[in-house]
């Protein structure tokens, strides 16, 4: 392989890895995002429950 071909090959490996990593990175974002959503729902439920208690 010539040096130019080697550099090209390194670029290919790099691009391929970045693509795969970003794909999996999205799953990670999903997990964190869902966790935050769950917390928001829990907080909203708690506020609702507290309002109901005061109302009663």
């Amino acid at each position: 392989m010539t040096p130019e071909e080697k550099v090209k090959k390194i670029e290919e490996i790099y691009n391929d890895a970045i693509k795969k990593m970003e794909e999996i990175g999205k799953k990670r974002q999903g997990i964190v995002g869902n966790y935050i959503k769950d917390l928001e729902v829990k907080k909203a439920d708690a506020i609702r429950a507290s309002i109901n208690l005061k109302g009663n």
């Binding site: 550099v7 790099y14 990670r28 997990i31 964190v32 966790y35």
Partner: protein, 311 residues
């Protein structure tokens, strides 16, 4: 016209047409390009991969603040993203290995590299499958272990011994009160520590024979039954968990050495590959333990608690 001018012309056109996707493509192509010789390109690729891993496996400060403000727990986030983080790291490590290989091995032909990488990918799939097999059954086996008689006996004896130690400590302090010169500052016979010195102290204070006997017998009262229970439990642990791990390690070692080779850089690559799977086993083991038997330890011996099975 130079290549550079071509690019600038294209950017101007895309800006004029408000083509955001096209501009993004240009940006990515520019980011993916490497300057300089092979060594320089390899260095840049590895450095950018490392940065990308950091970026993708870190929860943003904004999200961290949100979690904090919503009374969430970052430990929970870290636990649930651990496997994904490892997958991201594995991809980067694999790419790094391939880049290193191109950079280090000037004589390798393109075909050889491609063939070797193909063999490594196949090995990755095979070992990944084996790991999946042995770790999928871990939760069930762990439940079996904590429900076993030997485990219950071991934990029971451990608790009783701790209780006896506490009681002896209280007694010792009560009986030796008032004379610091004949009292050890800390009473800590824990894990069958030597009680001879405490017995001597108590004799100095003319403590009754039955209490002294209780101190003298403390070690033997627990040591033998606890060791017996420990041996019995370890043997069950070995049958259910460790033997699978040993077989896996053996398979991983021989296949990895065969595909990577055992000289120089190859040996290092093989070592990294093996470590990657042993780390994954460790992660899966911890997760299985947290999920199937929360709050329990699995391997108890007289030196304390060891969670990871040792050969």
């Amino acid at each position: 016209m130079t290549v550079e001018n071509d690019v600038f012309k294209k950017i101007s056109m895309l800006e004029e047409n408000k083509d955001v996707a096209g501009l993004e493509d240009i940006k990515q192509t520019a980011e993916a390009g490497f300057e300089g010789d092979v060594a320089g390109a390899a260095e840049q690729a590895i450095s950018r991969l490392t940065t990308k891993v950091e970026e993708l496996t870190t929860t943003s400060l904004v999200q961290e603040n949100q979690i904090h403000n919503l009374a969430g727990n970052m430990d929970e986030v870290n636990k649930s993203t651990e496997i994904i983080n490892n997958q991201i790291k594995d991809i980067a490590l694999d790419a790094q290995r391939q880049v290193d290989e191109i950079n280090n091995n000037e004589n390798n032909s393109n075909v050889e590299i491609i063939e070797k990488n193909k063999r490594i990918e196949e090995l990755d799939l095979e070992i990944g499958g084996l790991l999946e097999q042995i770790t999928a059954v871990l939760p069930e086996k762990m439940k079996q272990l904590v429900n076993s008689e030997s485990y219950k006996k071991l934990i029971d004896l451990n608790e009783k011994r701790k209780k006896e130690e506490k009681s002896l400590a209280e007694l010792y302090f009560k009986l030796t009160e008032g004379d610091g010169s004949h009292r050890r500052i800390h009473f800590s016979p824990g894990e069958y520590g030597d009680t001879e010195q405490y017995v001597n102290d108590l004799k100095f204070f003319n403590t009754s024979k039955d209490i002294i006997t209780r101190f003298e017998e403390y070690k033997d009262k627990f040591k033998t039954p606890e060791n017996n229970a420990s041996n019995e439990f370890n043997s069950e642990y070995r049958k259910l968990i460790t033997e699978d791990l040993w077989k896996f390690e053996e398979e991983l070692g021989s296949k990895s050495d065969k595909v990577f080779g055992i000289d120089g850089q190859n040996k290092e690559d093989s070592k990294k590959f093996k470590q990657k799977y042993l780390d994954r086993y460790q992660t899966n083991y911890s997760l299985a333990q947290e999920n199937s038997i929360p709050g329990k330890v699995l391997y108890v011996n007289t030196m304390g608690t060891i969670i990871y099975p040792q050969k």
